[in-house]
Amino acid sequence: MNRYLTIARHEITTQLRRKAFVFFAFIFPALMLGLNVGIGQYTASRMERENDLGTIGVVDHAGVVDQVLNQADDFRYFENEEAAEQALVNKAIGAYFVISDSYILTGQVDGYTLSSFPESTKDMIDSFIRENLLADQDQKVAARIADPMSITMKTIGGARELDDEDMMVHIMTPIVFSALFAMSVIMTSSYLMQSVVEEKESRMVELMISSVSPKEILYGKVLGLGAIGLMQIGVWITIALIALTISPEAAGWLSALSLPWWILVMAVVYILFGYLLYGSLLAGIGASSSSLQEAQSISGILTMLVMSPIFALAAFISNPSSAIPVALSLIPFTSPTGMMMRLTLSTVPWWQLALSLLLLALTAYAVVWLAAWVFRAGLLLTGKRLTPSILFRTIRARSNGQIITVDRSLQ
């Protein structure tokens, strides 16, 4: 009889009944998406309007602008500043620039506009001058000078290509990924803790353990709230993908984001073990705390542990194989986030990955076992604190084949 499935289903429906949960899991991200897309569209269309200054005037005192190339639609040649200024005031042109007579020596160019000078206009002028300077060069050389290299960085053995052009994506991916990762583990684990504390506070515990074993309660809760957590992550990822698909600039980001499938498999493995570890730890804390506030203050410290690799981001980016990142990706409490950051940043030797997983799995197993016993002893201690010495006695008593309880009210 798998009563933990009944408990799991109860936890799922109870969670879905909570207005606060539904709001943060579904409505809030949807609102953020709507807001984001709305603002994005608005600013994009505004920027487009503002960035397009129309025709740009050129006044050349240095004689670098080739008359032939000056036929381009975007540029108009003026003899002097006065004529260009007149055209600007009459709005025949959106801006003009003056190439000073000392240009060849100093590179001095002055730009004039009625409002602002967008970056895109500067880029246009920049490539316009470059083309003119290279007009009498060999065409192939000219093309190379304009765009001198297309570099591909590879890790030794060529396991993964690290594209230089995607450097932004390259740094953003581990940050976004590990932050999402840490948040999911913490969030799901705190649901679990909250549910345990509430069961204690509502005085349901005694009735529960006269029907099912503390282990069944723990497993049922871990399973049910784990499913809730996965569902919420699913909602977030779906909404994030929708946001990226709608926004045109993000399309390139999305294609560059594509991680190898095995890293995604690893992500699932680490998230499951991470949740088992932190979930049962927080369930144990919930069972042995006298109130939700007390439990939350302890769980805050654990939150810092999960997040700690993100705080050490600089070390991860400068050299993912240096001591701190390697340590953070091996220590069980930080390894879920730490290893994910290393995997998305560079390659990891297989033995480190295996060691990290082994340590995490062993720790998770030990913590689940411990939590089941803390759970049994802690559940009946309503309104009391389970001190380390009581915990120690409980474990020792367990090894002697007995269970002790210390609450006076149990007598």
Partner: protein, 302 residues
């Protein structure tokens, strides 16, 4: 027929105190068995051991003919002293879930919850959240949770605490119903008159040890002082065996203390033989359980 609960020589020690000390007793099928004793006497610890929430340090416990395991617990209903239900769940959902935890299928658990809620007059409240119910209603719902899976053994800890007379009567009738259907009930309570009225046998514990155990009527006569209650006319003191006469306001009768060798039967024969005496009512004075309780518990404290 084998005993419903068999407790043999059970001892349970918490860190510093002995909560239950060498306790042995049996609960017979179909009876209402009362457990009483002062606070901290070991009643709840004993109940928790019967329910396999705690394990004895030594001694054995058998429930429904086997060890008190999960399978046996599906046939046991428990009303804990500390009441509680999921406050944010609709009443019927909450009850159905508790029924499922006892092994009922969801459909059966839900339909039985609805039947029971109708039976106790909570049909209008079944879709309301538990927190929206009055205290008395919550108590009734809590009792339903105890009997939903039609248990063979019902263990109720202070079943009448916090109930008004109407609801006390309702719960009492439900307990009698279960007894009439051959179920066994273990009841722990401080309300002595409920035990006198309902229980077949009782167990009194004090400081973890058994102090009284047996049929309620036997225990009462065992503690009977040598007195009778009499209403009627006559000079009672003129009878040679009567040592003291006092009017008892509660009984609305004279309480006569008889000498050691003068039995109640002899008194009745003597009194009816003389025409000077008229007897309207005669009763051997059995002590209230309250008195026995105070006598036993108080005596042990000295």
């Amino acid at each position: 027929m084998e005993n419903t609960v068999q407790v043999n020589n059970v001892t349970k020690t918490f860190t510093e105190t002995v909560a239950v000390d060498q306790l042995s007793f049996q609960v017979k099928p179909g009876e209402i068995f009362a457990m009483l004793g002062p606070n901290g006497a070991g009643k709840t610890t004993t109940i928790r051991m019967i329910l396999d929430i705690l394990r004895p340090d030594s001694g054995t416990i058998q429930v429904l003919g086997g060890s008190p395991d999960r399978i046996a617990m599906d046939r046991v209903g428990y009303l804990p002293e500390e009441r509680g239900l999921y406050r944010d769940l609709p009443v019927k959902e909450c009850l159905a879930y508790l029924g499922e935890l006892k092994g009922l299928s969801r459909g059966v658990a839900l339909s039985r919850s609805i039947d029971w809620l109708e039976r106790v007059g909570l049909e209008d409240a079944m879709d309301k959240k538990v927190s929206a119910l009055s205290r008395g209603m919550q108590q009734k719902a809590q009792f339903i949770a105890t009997v939903l899976h039609d248990p063979d053994l019902l263990i109720v800890d202070e079943p009448f605490a916090g109930l008004d007379p109407v609801n006390t009567m309702l719960i009492k009738d439900m307990i009698y119903d279960l007894k009439d259907n051959g179920r066994t009930v273990i009841m722990s309570t401080h309300m002595m008159h409920q035990i006198e009225e309902m229980a077949d046998r009782l167990l009194m514990v004090n400081e973890g040890r058994l102090v009284l155990y047996g049929k309620v009527s036997d225990i009462q006569s065992q503690f009977a002082s040598h007195s009778v209650y009499v209403s009627g006319d006559g000079d009672w003191m003129s009878l040679e065996g009567v040592e003291e006469v006092a009017f008892d306001r509660d009984e609305k009768a004279y309480k006569l203390l008889l000498s050691e060798d003068y039995s109640a039967d002899t008194f009745l024969r003597d009194a009816t033989r003389h025409s000077d005496f008229r007897i309207d009512r005669f009763q051997v004075a059995l002590p209230a359980l309250d008195e026995i309780f105070v006598q036993v518990a108080g005596g042990n404290h000295q």
